[in-house]
């Protein structure tokens, strides 16, 4: 274990790996500021890492996705527009602080909490590996199948307006993964004689279509000209006042970092849930809860510590179980597969140095991103004035090149466009694109573990103790929205 840790740490400081982290950080911050979002960013940059060695490619992608929230906090505070969805809670108090003339203080608190939260979560993750390793390795086919179902259930419930629509999306994704030649039976499924489809759908084309193209369609339909409209001035001194606030509220920062990390570990939840849980906790434990929503610095420190801290938990779940810890991790997992690394128990067992490299990469990326943002946050905000017209041209070209590179087939341009349209319709009608992607990525494993479980354990394969515990969680996940509705209907009557 120690050897793997040292080896992983040494890899980070190889010049090319460190450079790839730097580039990832710079792009991640820019993406956060432009409000494109981590998922679109990860999708757009997959084509660039296709031919790179795994440690370079994955360090870049991990750095990119783990600092997007740091960039996103800048627009949340200064413009009232969350750079990414997990920055949404920061707007509630960060923007009012900016309106009161405390923009710098809010920025300092947001960026500092993000930086320290992201770095602390890496230590939690590394400390957990010795505990996690035997658990992961003890999982057999039925448990793995149930974990996949749990991941799909979480994402279905969390990502969509309707849990049923979320589950439909996830299962559709699994079904799409079954297109192509099945080795076990020797049957070509849903290919209709097409050699293009016999290898299945290329992940690149689908991901780029369903995230990047869809977002472009959406921006054009909404008639947006630029991402932001106005900007506030920020004093350099006040930024450091915000950093001092973190020290004053250090226990809140620590508790919210732990919350972010723990929520991040739960499959398919990630930063979105972490930030709201942390915000709720910050308000509950504050001595002045009535100030929340009016510009309270604790309302910035809480969610910003949590959203960056969720990254390490997310990544650990993804690497240990092969189940993406969040929607962004589903895309990142696509990146793993594209460069030939298969996340899951085998990775923890055989590729532990890479696991450490990527976790430490998160800490390094967060440290660099925090320093950059603290120094040049007011200048960075200018990126958010890029006109949508230019963005449409850039994204369309990168989408098509990225889709083509996978199989060197022009038909992948059609795949990207079809999934762009499907993604737009899904977004419009409240279906979860994240769940569809997760289903598509896990589809093959879903079928593999299902048939294996049935063969070895029969139709009652889910009756093992661990499987029953996971099944219980799945039922709780599905019952949760109905229980919540039922309680909220009862409470006003009782009042």
């Amino acid at each position: 274990m120690m050897d793997a840790f040292l080896q992983g740490t040494a890899t980070i400081f190889q010049p090319m790996v460190f450079l790839s982290i730097l580039v990832g950080v710079a792009l991640g911050i820019s993406v956060g500021v432009t409000a494109i979002g981590g998922m679109v960013a990860c999708a757009l940059f997959l084509p660039f890492v296709y031919q790179l060695p795994p440690e370079l490619a994955l360090s870049f992608l991990v750095a990119l996705t783990s600092v997007v929230f740091t960039g996103g906090s800048i627009t949340s505070v200064l413009l009232g527009v969350p750079g990414t969805a997990p920055n949404a809670a920061t707007v509630i108090d960060g923007f009012p602080m900016a309106q009161k003339g405390e923009a710098g203080r809010a920025l300092g608190a947001a960026i500092g909490s993000s930086m320290f939260g992201g770095m602390a979560s890496v230590f939690f993750a590394i400390a957990m590996i010795p505990v996690l390793k035997p658990i992961v390795l003890s999982f057999r086919a039925p448990e793995m199948f149930m974990v996949i179902l749990l991941g799909l259930s979480f994402l279905a419930i969390m990502a969509a307006g309707s849990p049923v629509k979320g589950m439909i999306s996830g299962l559709l994704g699994v079904l799409l993964a079954l297109i192509g030649f099945q080795g076990v039976s020797g049957v070509y499924r849903f290919t209709y004689g097409s050699t293009f489809l016999s290898d299945g759908l290329d992940l690149n084309g689908v991901v780029l279509g369903i995230f990047a193209l869809t977002e472009m369609f959406d921006m054009i339909v909404k008639g947006k000209e630029t991402i932001s409209m106005e900007v506030r001035k920020v004093g350099f001194k006040s930024v450091f006042q915000g950093v001092k606030d973190i020290w004053i509220h250090k226990w809140l920062w620590l508790r919210c970092s732990v919350i972010g990390y723990v929520v991040g570990i739960i499959p398919a939840i990630g930063g979105n849930a972490a930030m709201f849980v942390a915000y709720g906790h910050a308000k509950q434990t504050s001595k002045r809860p009535e100030q929340f929503g009016k510009g309270c610095v604790e309302g910035v420190i809480g969610p910003e510590s949590a959203n960056n801290a969720s990254s390490a938990g997310d990544l650990l779940t993804t690497m240990a179980f092969g189940i993406p810890g969040s929607a962004v991790m589903a895309l990142l997992m696509g990146g793993f597969l594209l460069v030939g690394v298969t996340p899951g128990p085998v990775m923890i067992k055989d590729n532990l140095p890479l696991v450490f490299t990527l976790l430490i990469g998160i800490a390094v990326a967060n440290g660099i991103a925090g320093i950059i943002c603290l120094l040049i946050a007011p200048q960075l905000i200018k990126i958010s004035f890029i006109r949508i017209d230019y963005l449409f041209v850039v994204i369309s070209a990168v989408v098509f090149i990225g889709a083509f590179i996978g199989k060197l087939s022009l038909l992948d341009l059609v795949v990207a466009t079809v999934f762009g349209v499907l993604g737009y319709l899904m977004k419009r009608f409240g279906y979860s694109r994240e769940a569809l992607l997760l289903g598509l990525i896990l589809g093959e494993l879903f079928e593999f573990y299902l048939t294996r479980s049935l063969k070895i354990f029969g139709p009652t394969f889910f009756m093992t103790p661990t499987s029953l515990v996971i099944l219980f969680f799945i039922i709780v996940v599905f019952a949760y929205p109905w229980l919540k509705d039922a309680f909220s209907r009862r409470s006003p009557q009782g009042a």
Partner: protein, 159 residues
């Protein structure tokens, strides 16, 4: 009774699932049939539940992820024109670009697409030309020179 567009989309999914289940049965081999059949049946059941709920619901617009996650400041509403019209226009540009790639390859079609799109959207000659040329050169430098990717050269130039 007027059927909502979201219900039409759901009915389309259900029809595809009926077709998928029928195809799965035809695979003959149990291992090939099991997962697609189970999945399509599960989607049919879930879809039927959701459709019943939608048809009974009085809410005209389905709740979307964005409605839940983001505050009102983020969702900029379009001014004038229909959503579907703008969507069709964007899709037209994308389709045209894809056809351009088929004819002229990636780099030439990017040059023309970037220039035409920006010009039609009201940008000046200088900014449209400058951006189109600069962006194409950047793509060439990254993909052709840097990553040495073999990008398609277009049917007019031998593919």
């Amino acid at each position: 009774m007027k059927i909502k567009s979201s219900s039409v989309f759901l009915i389309f999914i259900l029809l595809v699932m009926v077709f998928t289940a029928r195809e799965a049965i035809r695979f003959g081999h149990s291992e090939a049939m099991l997962a697609p059949l189970l999945l399509s049946l599960a989607i049919l059941v879930l879809g039927a539940i959701e459709l019943t709920r939608e048809l009974r619901s009085k809410d005209k617009r389905p709740r979307t992820v964005e409605d839940e996650d983001l505050p009102p400041t983020v969702v900029a509403r379009a001014k004038g024109g229909s959503d579907m019209g703008r969507f069709a226009m964007a899709l037209g540009w994308i389709g045209g670009f894809a056809f351009g790639i088929y004819l002229l390859g990636f780099f030439l079609s990017t040059l023309f697409f970037a220039f035409l799109y920006l010009k039609v959207r009201g940008r000046g000659w200088l900014s449209s030309t400058g951006f189109a040329a600069g962006f194409t050169v950047l793509l060439y430098a990254i993909f052709q020179m840097g990553l040495r990717s073999q990008l398609y050269r277009g049917v007019l130039f031998g593919g």
